[in-house]
Symmetry: C2
Subunit: 205 residues, 2 copies
């Protein structure tokens, strides 16, 4: 059986939602960041990066949300979750998720995980100060250019949706005025109405 | 015919190398970052993010290196370039590339593109100062845990290789002591020996 390592408030929610969507059998293991469990040897043996999610499969461990979402979709899901048979459509889905991973999630991380890139307090604060502006710019592109509605790719729910939903839950704390992002708010509402989302949320704070 | 927008010294080299590897017909369009061409309307209409690479296909534009590499492999390449028929192996390939995109490339970007995350000079300098440490840590994980040799995934050249090669060319400028990374140096040498790499390099500085 699959095992997934998750942490409250983290991006691992996206993978957990998808596991619920496809009805996969799995065991969820909660890592407590407040106790620094992600940096203890027991966990570093699973994922030397000390991050979540990690998906333990019968063949080995997979990390990185972009990779895990595609793996779950390919292995358990209906084709339309990732449309891997259509190179361009799959490319668009991958492009969206890669943007979330390498630009949007990274912008967010400068608020709480700034010590990855600077060490002094003044610079950490300078980073945090700019997060509302950077996050607003990053998600406004999603609002204006990407999110077709009701789902990211239009009428079809895909692996882009749990990923966007997970990040969109951070926006108010990141200082983004979500009142100006009606499509993202409507997407959040649609996601909250799904049983899979509720099941995943009930396993984390 | 495909059209790819590239810029000197940028991550777009990875996609260009792969186009050469698979023998795809394409036209390369050089964007001059020193003249800020990536932020001019003509280019923003192609890619509103103002970044490279952008791959213009018959069906529309694709951005983000992780997505473009898979698209090129799926459309033109032999199966082993991405092993998409094997969910776990494809997952490992995606995991590696996603780590390069969202952790390693991001660590590098704090040296030259720090204004994405802070505005004041002192914080920019503090970021730049930490780049050697952060990049060393990020690529040491590649050296120790990932790079099997001669290629990232072992005996088979995959879409991980042009991506790692492109980033590994930045390491000395990022202040990384590559003398301690013999496997990455050997990988760079093997990549340089390929005709496709040389053809791609001849199109950029």
């Amino acid at each position: 059986m699959l095992k997934i390592f998750i942490a409250n408030g983290s991006i691992s929610l996206a993978s957990l939602i998808l596991l619920e969507e496809v009805g996969a059998q799995y065991e969820a293991m909660l890592i407590d960041f407040s106790r620094d469990e992600q940096r203890q040897n027991a966990y570093l043996e699973i994922n030397p990066k000390g991050r979540v999610p990690s998906l333990v499969t019968e063949e080995g461990v997979l990390t990185e949300t972009c990779a895990i979402l595609v793996y779950i979709a390919q292995r358990f899901g209906p084709e339309y979750l990732a449309s891997m048979g259509d190179p361009f459509l799959f490319g668009r889905i991958q492009e969206f998720n890669s943007y979330l991973a390498s630009t949007v999630h990274v912008a967010h991380a400068h608020r709480l995980r700034g010590t990855r890139w600077v060490s002094d307090i003044a610079s950490l604060e300078a980073m945090q100060e700019k997060v509302p502006e950077v996050m607003t710019q990053a998600v406004t592109l999603v609002e204006d250019e990407w999110l077709q509605g009701p789902w990211v790719m239009g009428e079809t729910y895909t692996i882009c949706d749990p990923y966007l939903f997970t990040i969109s839950r951070w926006l108010e704390d990141d200082g983004v005025d979500t009142g100006k992002l009606p499509r993202i708010l409507e997407h959040r509402r649609c996601m909250m109405a799904r049983t899979a989302t509720q099941c995943a949320l009930s396993q984390m704070n």
